[in-house]
Symmetry: C2
């Protein structure tokens, strides 16, 4: 029986037993005769705590991750903007994030596996986190139908019908061979009714249990992070955080944020929820965000981030500097011979002027995008390095204040 | 009086005196009271001759050029495919070629001059050759009207009306600050009637004299190459070659080839014409061509080349190898873990597989184009380095035969 069929059978079995009821995790495990959770040797070492901000190290088979860390998004096993894995090293990237949905559609995880897995495929030797595919199923795919067993949808590329549930997601991520796999979850839209969020979160919990069960069976040695959901409802977030904290996963993410709610709502949810997630595990805020968001979330105990923002902004000529954000299309840079950021040591700033890069954008030269993506990713990675240094020296609070003051009124 | 108005006045003066008659160059100079040609200290040293093939060195203020050389086309002061000047060095480029027409339209030579000239603008310290703008006026611009004084045309970007004659072209190239400027010529279409070609070539000669006069006045220290025209008519080509050889220019180009005629016609014209151009000056075949074309033309005495072909092919997944050309879109490469060319030392071949690059093309990732442009330019530059080595060791004839045999039936 092919993997996907096997997985569907398991999924259906679990689904038939739990339907839409709230999940009792120990009961779920005993009912399924699945192995009880085993405490692994801890891979995550907290080095410094300042307030709730964490400075930690996560050991992985592909090298240590020093946190707080910003993961650089390599959707289809490449950074948009013509950056290679070697460029990722140059910009100080520690962790590449690849999208399971995109790679499942093209080239397919079977191709990647035959070529030796994602690391060899893209020639990146550091840690790789794959998302579950869930977020893209909910944001990109057409004709989406959510059932207990998983999600039926049509590919946004060629319209072909696809099913993905927790088991499929784990199998795909296993075939891709990422360092860290994400549990399959539903990312509900914002705004959503409380009733919908409750049902969705309960399903996400059942999917998390199935994700954990399947990845344990696959026995790939991959780390598994679970995902907290609950929209902007603190009570649901907290209850869900408590439930999934029982599972001794390798890390805990907050999903379903930065999907349209205000920054204040996001910070309120972090304030309420993070204290109910295990402090002695990585705390990952998915899809966030601006440099300000990062500093605010670090202060609230988050230490893993990812976002397409710096690369996407770079491709549109919006670049970050130590004094705020610039739009290089602005005519004021036509004769500006200075680098994007005189304080920056990236390849774009060491070699090229604002005027040159502006010209490249106007002339529609791809090099413009590449240089600005290099700069923005370098900026984000350097910011995280500076945050780590500030934590190491007990100065995070002052660093955060000074940095936000310098950006004030410019970057967002 | 602004430069362009001054130039138009000079152009009109010359035009009024010479109209469409055939040019007597010494008479033209004496009539205009222009300084007589002065022999410069020779900058071009022939090291080896094998048959008609030349192995030489051209000294320039921006470094020596070892020939035969393939110049890499950086149209708008950047290589299409997201390559920077640093990447140009990596692929073994000796000379960057920038397009006067494109830079005149955007950002304008005034901007480039204020930013310190092309070298500083694009951060390339090696030699730069600028074309005259003529070829693009004839191939890209709309509403083109050729007069004795120059060409009236509309920008292909915004439709604005522009005049360019020999004086304007020299002034623009001077403002850009290239190492080698090209004389302003007409590149007639193929096929064209002999009568049209005769008139056109005579005008091109008059424009060459005006180009030389203006660049001498500008006194920039730039080298000036003249351009031989004459379509596929050997007698016109030869007569024109003899005429312009009198002018002691810094180099001589063959223009108006690779514009639709057969390869055999091109080789026939080279066989007929090159012997009538000064052997002790650079011999430049403009806009050519395939790797085979290069070897055939080198055998016929050409030692400078440029062409958009390798970069354009690279952007479409067509890559050159020591065993012929590949199309990376071909399904046969889906699981091919080998580099584009196992014998190649470029960044693409050292780090990435055919399967990965094919995936990048299918996923529309810009990195695909960048890697293939890097590879193809490296291939062309390495081919020229191998040719130079073959000439240095007296083995060009054998090298050419062996290389063509290896490519047979693959590359074209």
């Amino acid at each position: 029986m092919p993997l996907s069929a096997a997985a569907q059978a398991v999924g259906t079995k679990i689904a038939s037993q739990f339907s839409h009821a709230q999940v009792d995790i120990p009961q779920l495990y005993s009912t399924l005769s699945l192995p009880q959770f085993e405490r692994k040797t801890t891979l995550y070492t907290i080095r410094i705590i300042e307030g709730r901000a964490k400075r930690a190290t996560l050991q992985t088979p592909h090298g240590n991750i020093e946190t707080p860390v910003f993961m650089n998004v390599a959707t289809a096993a490449a950074i948009k903007g013509a950056l290679s894995a070697a460029d990722l090293s140059d910009v100080g990237c520690q962790v590449a994030l690849c999208n399971t949905y995109h790679l499942h559609l093209r080239p397919g995880e079977g191709v990647v596996r035959q070529l030796g897995g994602l690391h060899r495929f893209m020639n990146w030797n550091g840690p790789i986190l794959t998302d579950s595919g869930g977020f893209q199923v909910f944001s990109l795919a057409a004709m989406r139908k959510i059932k207990e067993e998983g999600v039926y949808f049509s590919s946004h590329i060629d319209g072909r019908k696809i099913f993905m549930g927790p088991e499929e997601s784990m199998e795909i991520q296993s075939a891709l061979g990422s360092t860290i796999a994400m549990a399959f979850d539903e990312c509900p839209p914002h705004p959503a009714e409380k009733k919908y969020i409750i049902d969705s979160v309960n399903r996400t919990t059942r999917w998390l249990v199935r994700s954990k069960a399947r990845i344990d069976e696959l026995n790939t040695g991959q780390l598994l992070f679970g995902i907290n959901q609950g929209g902007v409802y603190e009570d649901i977030r907290i209850q869900h955080a408590k439930e999934i904290s029982e599972m001794d996963l390798d890390g805990y993410a907050l999903g379903g944020l930065a999907v349209g709610e205000t920054h204040e709502d996001m910070y309120r949810i972090l304030d309420a929820t993070v204290p109910h997630l295990p402090q002695n595990k990585p705390t990952y805020l998915m899809g966030v965000g601006t440099p300000q968001n990062l500093l605010e979330a670090i202060e609230r105990g988050v230490d893993f981030f990812d976002c397409v923002l710096p690369a996407r902004n770079g491709r549109h000529g919006h670049v970050y500097t130590s004094r705020g954000k610039l739009n290089l299309f602005n005519a004021m840079y036509e004769l500006d011979d200075s680098p994007i950021d005189p304080e920056c040591g990236c390849q774009a700033c060491k070699n090229h002027s604002r005027a040159y890069i502006r010209h490249l954008f106007k002339a529609k030269e791809m090099l413009a995008m590449r240089l600005c993506v290099i700069h923005n990713l370098h900026f984000y990675n350097k910011l995280m390095a500076d945050v780590r240094h500030a934590l190491d020296t007990g100065n995070f609070a002052a660093f955060k204040k000074n940095t936000l003051d310098k950006w004030e009124g410019h970057t967002q």
